[in-house]
């Protein structure tokens, strides 16, 4: 058994989660049994698992486990048919598609929120006192059972959270009290778990207990993907193997690794903690070994794999530039827009499409302002996050201006569609993934103008473009399913 450890499966996931999904799928195809062990409470998990087309039997959430809700079939719970509705006394007043009110003799006593993405199924119910204070809130799991109830301190902050079994008994209680002057979770209590109560001071202690329970049932190889969970994994007793997978660049300063390792990575990169530490690229592994003269036991295996298109692209008339990935400050989207502006001034038929979720609404506003300032409204388009983006098919060129990438999954994905890359030259991508004149260009002088210049050059040379598209496909084959499978096979033996 191989255990992948994570915090959550979200509606919007980062590369770490996708990497885990890919491995889950791979291990399954390789005939290895693997499970993703998740720490965070997520009442919509069953829906998210379906969205990401994951095999539900390969995902085990800690709360689900303790709530005895593993493998529970979904049952639709229309809010108006809830047994808790006292229809002889209360009126349920529909306000809109998302909300209904609960009224007793004309007074508002509760609000029912509809389960996201459903029509009329119960999502959560908030109850109020006669002064309008929120007194009590009940949350339903996607699968249609009352999963968590919450109470509040007089100041409005969360006081208690009780996680329920589908039968209604309390499985787990979290108490929120003072911790260094702030109101935070201070006690996690498992109730009658296998007949005994267990108290934990932190969620990670509980997660460690959970990992040990799972490992005791079936010992396995643990892979720690999240630095926040390294200690939990290290505290598993009698695991077959403990591995850490490093998704991002672990250095304080990418350009000067000798300046040191980020605090979050210290546990993972300390010799003797993990049996093996896996890096997505050889270059990154080597830097760690060389710069720190480390005796760390390292291995290399890719983050993910790609399905490679069969035929390369020819330069089209309508040229579409793309960027896919998180739309966030650290991705330096402003430079991308400025770069495109420079290109657009030369060729007004160009279009630029960016796809991904915004890191925050402030940044979104900022970018939209920039688009209008640059008068690019007709040429630039932001597309919402999509699980399997379709825009690669009609894309001509991928632009990237981020200052750092652990691997550059988005660029690999692009190359797998035969779309060449023009990017700022960044460590671990330059000469590893993106190679000049082979599948794209690394622009050493990191200015939008030079990035634009290089991109325009490429778009003006159809012969070279076709060649780079071929090269991109060739590069991508190194990261296809076969290569991915082979690399991980070397690292993890069940």
């Amino acid at each position: 058994m191989i255990y992948l450890t994570g915090e959550n499966v979200f509606t919007f996931n980062s590369g770490t989660e996708f990497s885990q999904f890919e491995r889950l799928d791979l291990f399954k195809r390789q005939g290895k049994t693997a499970k993703l062990l998740l720490r965070n409470y997520n009442r919509l998990l069953a829906k998210d698992i379906a969205t990401h087309k994951l095999d539900p039997t390969t995902v085990l959430n800690m709360y689900d486990y303790f709530q005895e809700a593993v493998g529970l079939q979904r049952k639709k719970c229309p809010l108006r048919l809830l047994k808790s509705m006292a229809l002889k006394d209360h009126h349920i007043v529909g306000i809109d598609n998302n909300t209904s009110e609960l009224r007793y003799q004309g007074n508002l006593i509760g609000k029912i929120a509809v389960m996201p993405e459903t029509v009329g199924l119960v999502g959560d119910i908030t109850y109020f006192d006669r002064m309008g204070h929120t007194i009590f809130k009940e949350y339903w799991d996607w699968r249609g059972f009352r999963s968590m109830v919450e109470t509040y301190h007089p100041d409005g902050s969360i006081a208690t959270q009780q996680f329920l079994k589908p039968t209604g008994e309390i499985a787990l209680e979290i108490t929120h009290m003072y911790l260094d002057g702030k109101i935070l979770p201070t006690s996690y209590k498992l109730i009658a778990y296998r007949g005994k109560d267990y108290v934990f001071d932190t969620q990670d202690q509980l997660y460690t207990f959970f990992l040990n329970e799972i490992n005791a049932l079936e010992p396995g190889v643990f892979i720690s993907d999240r630095r926040t969970l390294d200690n939990c994994v290290l505290n598993v007793i009698n695991a077959k193997q403990k591995l850490a997978y490093i998704h991002s660049v672990p250095f304080v300063d990418d350009k000067k690794p000798q300046k040191g390792i980020l605090p979050a990575y210290r546990t993972a990169l300390t010799v003797g903690n993990f049996d093996q530490v896996i890096f997505p690229t050889k270059a990154e592994a080597n830097t760690v070994l060389q710069v720190f003269e480390s005796k760390l036991n390292v291995a290399v295996a890719p983050d993910s794999w790609v399905k490679v298109a069969t035929s390369p692209k020819v330069l089209p008339k309508q040229k579409v530039l793309i960027y896919v990935g998180r739309i966030a400050e650290d991705k330096n989207i402003t430079d991308l827009l400025k770069c495109f502006k420079a290109m657009y001034l030369q060729d007004a038929t160009l279009r630029f499409k960016l796809q991904g979720y915004f890191s925050n609404t402030d940044y979104q506003t900022k970018l939209q302002q920039l688009v209008s300032e640059l008068h690019l409204q007709d040429a630039v388009e932001f597309l919402p996050y999509q699980n399997e983006p379709k825009l690669y098919q009609d894309a001509t060129l991928f632009l990237n201006a981020s200052p750092s990438e652990g691997f550059g999954m988005n660029m690999l994905e692009s190359m797998a569609h035969g779309v060449p890359i023009v990017t700022y030259a960044i460590d671990y991508t330059e000469n590893n993934l993106v190679k000049n004149d082979i599948n794209g260009y690394n622009v050493k002088n990191k200015t939008p103008k030079l990035l634009a210049k290089k991109a325009l050059e490429l778009l003006g040379d159809s012969e070279n473009y076709h060649k780079l598209s071929k090269g991109a496909l060739k590069t991508a084959t190194k990261y296809d399913a076969k290569a991915f499978s082979a690399a991980w096979d070397l690292v993890v033996s069940e």
Partner: protein, 519 residues
């Protein structure tokens, strides 16, 4: 079902609880089901009720009902039975404070476990601390050995919410404390997850209790006897389904019982009396009170006089004690030493009697009322001293078994300011003790009848009271005649007679509800 409504059945009982206990025994004797409905949560309810003779079949507590805990086999729970969820705990006993301190190996406090010394250290409550020294919860254990109520604390150490659980650990009822507009932390709400899965919210305990009464009356046709008016005087007028509602007076309806037509209404009964016509019936313990209620309030509902005291068959079966076998001059009083009992008047009367009958003695049986730093007791002792009666008048304290005392006494003296019934004087006449009492409402002036079983003298006239006693002591024949009359007149309070009075009420209930109520 016939329900009697009260807040509880504590060890320390008032006349209302005693009346209920006698009534439950009577119903049992006549094989008529009834239940004591209890509103308030109390961890020892079953223990104290059972000790008073109310078994679980006759007890319906609201909290039990929602907590599904009406019938729970008592279980021993001591500190070693608790699961505090941590390993290697250190337990230290603080026997002077009846508790254990439970700590982690690093000395951090995990819990204070409070126990009941009189119940072999059965756990009363646990005060629980998190890993950061916050008291986050107090768990209160029902005396039957399960965690019944959990009080969750706020970060600044006040109760923030309360939660009642089933014995299996399901949370069914909660209350919440919030800041009101004056920034005062107050209990603002209750939320109930009922057995039928419905969720209800309430602003206060009264609303919850009303909901509960409607729940137990869901099929209708029950009889509710309201023994503590303020618990449900509104709720009983608003029941959703048919029921026979009885407002039971246990005290004078008038603030000044001697002025029943004009004095301000007894606060406890004010609301109920203002809504009398929305009840099915009113019960009072004496004919005089029934007549006064009719005179002043002219109710449309039925009026019944049903004594709250019942003389046991055992007492009736005992051989009467003749006057010659009693202690000459022995006067007794059985009363709390409290202002409304006005025992200093009785002492003054004895002083007068003593001038003519030197053998006279007075024994007072009863607790001293602690209010005003035992002011009434001090007043009585002062009066005794002032009258030079230290040898003749004794404060004997409370005694539960009075039959031997009653069988030796000749006269029972009563000088109260106000009475609801007075079980003690009824007990006394059933033992052949002659009653000499003020004309005080309500009870003594019904129980004692002039020239039949004693003497009723003007209210507050202790000289007349003394003269009545002197007359009896000087005339042994009269004394014997009155004593025989006392035995005879107590037949009014035989279970047979009291049951007959209840039956009249049930007949009316059946007629009103058009159906049988004994379910």
């Amino acid at each position: 079902m016939i329900y009697f409504i009260n807040f509880g059945m504590p060890d320390h009982k008032s006349g209302i609880e005693h009346a209920e206990l006698k009534r439950i025994k009577l119903f049992e004797k006549y094989q008529t089901p009834c239940q004591l409905v209890v509103r308030d949560w109390n961890r020892t309810l079953h223990m104290t009720a059972n000790a008073a003779g109310v078994d679980d079949e006759h007890l319906l507590s609201m909290f039990d009902y929602f907590q599904e805990a009406s019938h729970v086999l008592p279980k021993r729970v001591t500190v070693s039975d608790l699961d505090l969820g941590l390993k290697n705990l250190v337990i230290t006993e603080e026997s002077d404070r009846s508790r254990y301190l439970v700590t982690r190996p690093n000395k951090k406090l995990v819990a204070r476990v409070n126990y009941d010394n009189s119940q072999a250290k059965q756990v009363i409550s646990t005060e629980l601390f998190d890993g950061y020294n916050n008291l986050y919860r107090v768990d209160l254990y029902d005396a039957r050995g399960f965690c019944s109520l959990r009080q969750w604390y706020t970060p600044d150490n006040k109760i923030g919410s309360e939660e009642w659980l089933t014995p299996t650990g399901k949370s069914v009822l909660r209350t919440f404390y919030k800041y009101d507009l004056q920034n005062k932390l107050v209990k603002t709400s209750w939320i109930l997850r009922d057995k039928n899965h419905e969720v209800h919210t309430f602003d206060n305990l009264d609303q919850l209790f009303e909901y509960f009464l409607n729940r137990i009356n869901e099929k209708g046709n029950n009889v509710f006897v309201l023994d503590r008016s303020l618990l449900a005087d509104g709720a009983l007028t608003r029941l959703k389904r048919p029921a026979y509602t009885v407002m039971h007076l246990h005290n004078s309806q008038a603030g000044d019982a001697q002025d029943p037509m004009n004095s301000i209404v007894n606060n406890n009964y004010e609301y109920a009396l203002a809504n009398l016509d929305r009840y099915s019936a009113v019960v009072s313990a004496t004919k005089r009170q029934t007549a006064d209620v009719i005179k002043r309030f002219d109710p449309k509902c039925k009026m019944f006089t049903i004594p709250v005291g019942i003389v046991s068959d055992e007492t009736f079966n005992a051989k009467p004690v003749l006057e010659k076998d009693r202690t000459f001059g022995k006067v007794i009083a059985v009363a709390r030493i409290a202002h409304e009992k006005r025992l200093d008047d009785l002492v003054k009367a004895i002083a007068i009697v003593k001038q003519e009958i030197p053998e006279v003695t007075l024994d007072i049986y009863g607790y001293a009322d602690p209010s005003n730093d035992y002011g009434e007791k001090r007043k009585v002792i002062e009066t005794i001293a002032k009258m030079g009666l230290d040898d003749s008048v004794k404060l004997k304290g409370y005694k539960s078994e009075l039959a031997p005392v009653l069988d030796k006494a000749q006269i029972f003296g009563l000088t109260s300011r106000m009475e609801g019934f007075n079980l003690a004087i009824m007990e006394a006449i059933s033992h052949g003790v002659v009653g000499v009492t003020y004309d005080v409402n309500y009870g003594p002036n019904d129980i004692v009848i002039n020239e039949q079983n004693g003497a009723v003298v003007s209210y507050g006239d202790y000289r007349a009271l003394a003269q009545a006693m002197i007359k009896l002591f000087k005339d042994p024949k009269l004394m014997q005649q009155m004593s025989t009359g006392a035995y005879t007149s107590s037949k009014r309070y035989s279970s047979e007679n009291v049951w007959r009075a209840w039956q009249a009420l049930f007949d009316d209930a059946k007629q009103t509800l058009k159906g049988d109520v004994f379910k």
